[in-house]
């Protein structure tokens, strides 16, 4: 199981999403999980494909091909607007 989090505007398109992925079987990466999510939810898919969206695994920014393991926390981060 991978816990998937959506922040900022991404949250508007992703209420009640639960994702069950067998990580070892599909050799999960943020890119693959984004594809799975986009199949189910076209609007969310468009948002996730935006150039400035970053991805974090276990609270650390990683590349889109970073290997994800069972129990990891995956977060999709739109451009930040704090301060």
């Amino acid at each position: 199981m991978v816990k998937v989090l959506f922040f900022g505007r991404l949250g508007d398109f992703s209420e009640n999403i639960e994702l069950k992925v067998n990580c070892t079987e599909i050799e999960a990466t943020p890119k693959k999980i984004r594809s799975l999510l986009s199949e189910d939810n076209v609007n969310l898919g468009k948002q996730l494909a935006a150039a400035q969206v970053l991805v974090a695994v276990n609270k650390v920014i990683v590349g889109w091909d970073y290997p994800i393991n069972d129990g990891d926390e995956l977060a999709f981060l739109p451009p930040v607007t704090g301060g």
Partner: protein
Amino acid sequence: MKSHIRVECENFDVGLEYQRLRLLCHQIGAVVTFTGLVRDFENSESQKVRSDSLSAMDLQHYPGMTEALMTNIAEEAAVRWSLLGVTIIHRVGKLSPNDQIVFVGVASEHRSEAFNAAEFLMDYLKLKATFWKRVMIGDQWHWVSPKSSDEDAMLKWGRH
């Protein structure tokens, strides 16, 4: 260098935070504070919205990741400049126009270090820390878009 990092819903007291920095040690010759406030308008979806329509702001963050990034930011500043104390406070949750949002305070021996570090911390925070804000206009929430000026502001600090 002593750093003090907080993410919280509660308001902060600038006078109190200044005193905390000032009293850290006797070498301190300069304290710079920055406070960011909710303006009566905000760039939202590339358009300026007047205050009378902006009734609230809501700040979300990524708990755990935000605090770690803020700690990194403070450490990076302490590598670049000789600092005696750094405080970074960022509020989350619902805010109203004119509310305080963010506080950065820096104590150092000399003024140029405190000025540079405080500005660097704010620029870095704006561009890197995992906060997202939305504003209530009329009866609708709108996510705030990042400003390109914030990206430009980071350029002066070189590679990051």
